[in-house]
């Protein structure tokens, strides 16, 4: 009998490049030995041989199957080792895991994407997917917030997006400096000029828990509906296949039922933002 692939065994991948985004953040360009098709919002487990595994959401174009880009902040054991990788090194990838954004269901709708800090990673993949077929949707808005100018990732993409006529984009920094001429304040302070029919619109959020908590409250006040607010939840997904128990959130396992949830799904879970 032909057994399915071992769910715990990663696919070998070669490091093609390691791109410095900020002092704390790098983006790895990886070439997996087998194509790994994914949908924006799905995640993978990255294995560093001899170090361990950690979950990341790819930040690249989902339809490019022979390359995967992972944007990684140096905050722990695996991420520290990931920052030391060089061209030609070998890593492992397991996935895609979980469910991503139901982009097809957004057809004809106006969409507001709100990102905070490291939440930009999955959102870059989402933005590529949305902009690739921008005509399918109503007006697109992107609102992004970052701690400081030094923490701002994807500057090239953000510049390109700013030049587009089919995208309304604004950025803000928690703390400004002399090099920054834009808005200063948390991301919820740049949502008021979003001019869409909130009751019908789609809102997509990704960022640190505190940012998602306050942004959700703001979006609800603006008139977005619970079932139209999409949130990317984070826990320490380990097995990725709903067995190991680490990422339980209420009645869900984030690794199989998420990481993308609607606010409707998670709003009654006690301490959901903890």
């Amino acid at each position: 009998m032909l057994e399915a692939r071992n769910p715990y065994s990663p696919i070998e991948a070669e490091v093609v490049d390691s791109i410095v985004e900020t002092p704390m953040i790098k983006t790895l360009e990886l070439r997996p030995r087998e194509p790994i098709p994914f949908a924006a919002g799905q995640f993978v487990e990255l294995t560093l041989p001899g170090v361990g595994e950690a979950p990341f959401t790819p930040s690249s174009r989902p339809w490019i199957e022979d390359r995967m880009f992972l944007t990684i902040m140096n905050v722990g054991k695996v991420t520290e080792a990931a920052h030391l990788l060089r061209k030609g090194d070998t890593v492992g990838l397991r996935g895609p895991l979980g469910v991503g954004y139901p982009i097809d269901s957004f057809k004809g709708r106006e969409i507001l994407v709100v990102g905070g800090g490291c939440g930009f990673a999955p959102l870059r993949s989402l933005m590529y997917s949305l902009l690739e077929r921008a005509g399918d949707f109503g007006r697109l808005y992107f609102r992004g917030g970052c701690k400081s100018f030094d923490d701002l990732v994807y500057r090239k993409e953000l510049d390109e997006w700013s030049a587009r006529q089919d995208l309304d984009i604004r950025l803000t920094l928690d703390e400004g400096d002399e090099s920054w001429t834009g808005h200063v304040g948390v991301v919820t302070t740049i949502l008021d000029d979003v001019d869409l029919d909130c009751a019908q619109g789609i809102a997509i959020l990704c960022g640190p828990p505190v940012m998602m908590k306050f942004s959700t409250e703001k979006l609800l006040k603006m008139g977005f509906r619970d079932q139209n607010i999409y949130i990317s939840m984070e826990r320490n997904m380990s097995c990725g296949v709903g067995k190991c128990g680490h990422c339980r959130l209420g009645l869900y396992y984030i690794c199989t039922d998420g990481p993308v949830f609607t606010y409707e799904q998670i709003k009654s879970i006690p301490d959901v933002w903890h």
């Binding site: 057994e3 001899g50 905050v75 984070e234 190991c244 128990g245 680490h246 199989t256 903890h274």
Partner: protein
């Protein structure tokens, strides 16, 4: 096999003498849970970059004397490893290959409370063969095609069960049920019919802080529990390269839900204790229709901090 007051599973050897070595078929549950045979505490699940499933490290085995509470534990483990999402190839292989010969309990331990969870102390299913100890032998019941085949192949060993022995089994079963019920009554353990809503009702209860006060985070309650299934993947160097192992993990340990960068949804011990009960008594029944407690009572003597699940259940039900 009996060792002092404990019952343990021990590998059969032809030199074993049934009387001298205190082989017990009936009596009550073993000290250790059955799950170690199906999801070992440390199991190799992959060799790095090899998509194949590592071969089993031992021959299939038969386990004799499994009790009803451990068979009930299978239902939970089956939900996790076979039914929800992808089948786990390691657990699936162990379930398919191995033979379960269960047996009726013939006595109740001080900590038994299976009836409170709605389960009898004699097997009703999920076995290949069940043995009910009666005078002069066993009443043998077949519970699966595998069990049927084995009995058919050894027909000469069996004979029709006389009515008197069926009566004897009925009496033994009724006596053991009465024993378990008296333990439940002594400790005031509430029946599962009263559990509805108790976890949500007690989310902010002081109970969790009170009970967690003596907890030392050892994880014994997790490891001894027939329904606890959580594990962690760990890559380790072996002679032939890097292999991935899965190791039993404990949700009582501080780092269980911690994420990179230091965020922890359950930083306090009492939150983790609450989470453990929430998973067993709210998540599982709502997601699978099964309480993830079999009433085996193993966690009670295992806990060095005297956290008694019977007392917690009582408080949960009675806190309005």
């Amino acid at each position: 096999m009996k060792k002092g007051q404990q019952r343990i599973f021990q590998r059969y050897h032809p030199s074993v003498d049934r009387a001298a070595d205190q082989v017990v078929i009936g009596e009550a549950r073993t000290t250790e849970p059955l799950k170690g045979f199906f999801t070992p505490a440390r199991e190799k699940v992959a060799e790095l970059f090899n998509p194949e499933i590592p071969p089993s490290e031992h021959k299939p085995f038969a386990i004799v004397g499994v009790k009803a509470c451990d068979l009930q534990g299978f239902l939970i483990q089956d939900e996790v490893f076979l039914k929800r999402g992808n089948r786990d190839p390691f657990y699936a292989r162990a379930r398919e290959e191995n033979l379960i010969i269960s047996s009726d309990c013939t006595l109740a331990l001080e900590t038994c409370f299976c009836l409170a969870l709605g389960h009898d102390p004699h097997p009703k299913g999920n076995f290949d063969i069940n043995l009910s100890e009666v005078a002069g032998g066993f009443i043998v019941e077949v519970g699966s095609p595998k069990g049927r085949e084995l009995v058919d192949d050894h027909e000469s060993l069996f004979q029709a069960v006389p009515h008197t022995l069926l009566e004897e089994r009925k009496e033994i079963r009724e006596r053991v049920i009465a024993e378990v019920q008296s333990r439940i009554d002594e400790h005031g353990v509430p029946h599962r019919d009263q559990y509805q809503g108790m976890i949500n009702r007690n989310h902010e209860s002081k109970l969790w802080q009170e009970e967690a006060g003596t907890c030392v985070e050892c994880g014994a309650c997790n490891f001894i529990c027939p329904t606890c299934h959580c594990f962690v993947l760990s890559d380790q160097q072996t002679g032939s390269g890097t292999a991935r192992f899965r190791l039993w993990d404990s949700c009582m340990v501080k780092d269980f839900a911690r994420v990179a960068g230091g965020g922890n949804p359950r930083p306090q011990l009492w939150m983790r204790l609450r989470n453990r009960f929430e998973k067993k008594l709210d998540f599982f029944p709502r997601v699978t229709g099964l309480y993830a407690c079999t009433g085996c009572g193993r966690c009670i003597p295992a806990c060095p901090a005297d956290i008694d699940i019977r007392r917690v259940l009582k408080a949960l039900v009675h806190n309005a």
